[in-house]
Symmetry: C2
């Protein structure tokens, strides 16, 4: 390596840049994985929707449809598994991947159970609700991989893309769950109070996810999202939400609405899929751009450092530079090194400032992820403590936020820290 000849200071400056590139190349691979997951999740959502329909309204004509959907999903699963094989699981590059790998293992575990689930669906050996729940878990485990990828990304621009994509996927998944729930309700002709509460909970969480998506999305993605909001299928899907709200045991509606609800919400979700594809492309482009930038910076940085290094050894040049040096010093060697020192120092300060800026930007995006996780954990804690449903727990949190004039995230944070063991517990070591 030519860089071996550089003095240690310059070598570490270069190593810092190279480290950034290595980290970015690694991140780019994770991003490719994320796009594969996004595609698989969409297929799974479709398969879940049709499985639910197949089991709920006993529609044998959907069986063929289901069959081809399963095949499409299996193909995307294979592609994801192939992508996973490409990940270096044991080399030095695998350091600090504990959380990501654990999430991947969890997702794979749920994928492993998919064939058995499909068999039971075909043979009507599982209820619509249980089949949906199993697929919700599977999709949740895949989303957790995307969450982890976003949380461990080291480039602010890419992290923004990942946070936007994750929140969009989450919103879309909730839209899928809403679709399934609506099918169940309309199939029985009306919505019980409890079902309606769950439906509203899913709608609210959807809105929250899409709001966070919007905060981190590019202008182009935001425009696409607004267009979806104004679309005819979205308008009609929302109308059906209103009808669902007005049903009750004495005011049943035609069970046929079940299929209409399904179709409209499917159209809405398919439109979302278009935006998701756009987000995937943005993500991959962003990776390419960041890598290109760092590669070219690394290149010019190396040349610059090599010329700095030459300066240090060439005495003639040293004398030349010492003329321009503002510091008076009797020994020319000091003058050269002081010029060299200033150039090096400037480069280093520039680099340190840039890293601090990146750190601040990362903090902001990660904060959004952390808050989502805390709301989720607070909800789980309430479910355990009050032995209530998820939508009830959520309603509790929301009410507390309104009463205390706080954001939902702040209430969640307080709830968790009040119930945690004392923060600064005495440590027993050695």
């Amino acid at each position: 390596m030519q860089t071996r000849k550089l003095p240690a200071t310059l070598r570490f400056m270069l190593a810092a840049r190279r480290s950034e590139l290595l980290g970015l190349e690694d991140l780019a691979q994770t991003c490719t994985l994320v796009t594969r997951i996004s595609q698989l999740v969409h297929a799974l959502q479709k398969e879940r929707g049709y499985s639910n329909l197949f089991l709920s309204i006993d529609a044998p004509h959907q069986r063929q449809n289901l069959e081809s959907l399963s095949q499409a999903t299996a193909l995307l699963e294979l592609e994801l598994r192939n992508e996973l094989e490409r990940i270096d699981q044991s080399g030095a590059g695998a350091a600090d991947k504990t959380r990501l790998f654990t999430r991947i293992a969890q997702a794979l575990h749920h994928l492993d159970e998919l064939p058995s689930l499909r068999r039971r669906v075909r043979e009507h050996r599982i209820s619509a609700q249980d089949a949906t729940a199993a697929l919700v878990r599977l999709i949740g485990s895949l989303l957790a991989v995307v969450f982890e990828a976003a949380d461990s990304a080291i480039d602010p621009a890419i992290t923004h893309c990942l946070v936007a994509l994750f929140n969009f996927m989450q919103g879309k998944e909730l839209a899928g769950q809403e679709r399934a729930l609506g099918v169940t309700g309309f199939a029985s002709g009306y919505f019980e109070t409890e079902l309606l509460e769950r439906l509203e909970h899913l709608q609210e969480c959807q809105e929250r996810s899409f709001a966070t998506f919007s905060r981190f999305a590019s202008a182009a993605a935001q425009t696409l999202w607004q267009a979806l909001g104004a679309s005819e299928s979205n308008r009609q899907a929302c109308q059906l939400r209103g009808i669902a709200r007005r049903t009750h045991a004495e005011a049943k509606v035609d069970c046929q609405l079940s299929e209409l609800w399904f179709d409209l919400h499917t159209q809405r979700i398919d439109l979302m899929q278009g935006i998701e594809t756009h987000l995937e492309q943005e993500l991959l482009q962003c990776c390419q751009q960041s890598m290109q930038r760092i590669r070219s910076e690394l290149h010019s940085h190396r040349r610059l450092l090599e010329s700095l290094s030459d300066m240090q050894t060439t005495t003639e040049q040293a004398r030349l530079f010492s003329v321009h040096s503002s510091e008076l010093d009797s020994q020319p060697k000091d003058a050269t090194s002081s010029h060299l020192a200033r150039s090096t120092l400037e480069l280093l300060q520039h680099q340190a400032l840039r890293l601090q800026g990146m750190h601040d930007e990362l903090r902001e995006a990660r904060q959004a992820l952390e808050e989502r996780k805390q709301v989720e954990r607070a909800k789980q804690q309430l479910i355990r403590q009050l032995d209530c449903s998820e939508s009830e727990a959520y309603a509790q949190l929301r009410q507390a936020a309104m009463n205390q004039g706080l954001r939902l995230e702040e209430v969640a944070q307080r709830l968790l820290s009040s119930s945690a063991s004392p923060t600064h517990r005495p440590r027993q070591k050695h």
Copy 2:
């Protein structure tokens, strides 16, 4: 590799554990580096003290002393540089080291200037103040490496050790600066108001550093720290602080107090060095323990996963286990996989919970580092905005905290975020 034969799910579970070990081995190397830095910093502090004495009170009898101190420092510098050579700067393990490598380059840059500085000290071509300032910058850059190491550590127990050590080093460095400032004051017979303010600022910051150290220190380290507080040299050093405070232009004291001050504070700092050595040992022990634990867990984990994998392939065993299976299923294959699935799931859930706990503990320790950085940045911002000294900026922050009934860190945080550009600025992408 035997693990190649495992199914993908189990392979990723194992990879997660291996990743943890790799990260830990890497962290252990950084910790060794940190102990070298700690030793070098102590030598530099000594050299700075004697350089200051040599330049301040024109004590030619200190020259020989200075010479041998410089040699001792140079030896420790060489050991640090050798340790740095051992770091893999270009391999895949170097990913995500951008900040650490940048800090190392900055420290090396300042170390490169040390020979020239020493020459100027010997030839009296630099003021005591400037020589001290140059060494303060050098030591600051070395402490920044320790900060970065603490901030990027991935193991909660090790992070606690590093946060304790960093804060202790920081407090000790401030004690060293206090020693230098006191020498200057007593050498001129009295302390001007401005000098006194700086002295008090250094004392306050010292206390804050040691308080944070105590929060994260082991019980053994805390006991050592309390013993230092009760020691005779600490008591006498504090007495001299009182005398310094009572001097003024019309109430001068004997210049000889300068050397007494220096000796007493040197004794105090040497006692600190004893504690620092203890902290270094704790750190290295902690690394060893964590690695040993992860290695043995990895070993048993591998065996467990291999046996799970065998279960999946051995049909006889499968039938055996299906008896215990609570889930009724007509196909034995489903029963085996459901037992296997439960075992796998339990392991995975255990791992995910453990990682979440580690994440929470890490957040707490990193918060302490982040807050320190923010106080520092808020101070720098005030210095620029008000064109004032560091101690004035600190006094401003402290006053604002008192007026608003907030912690110093909270005031700093508010100051920084109020002056930052709007947080959610529209993003211009694509």
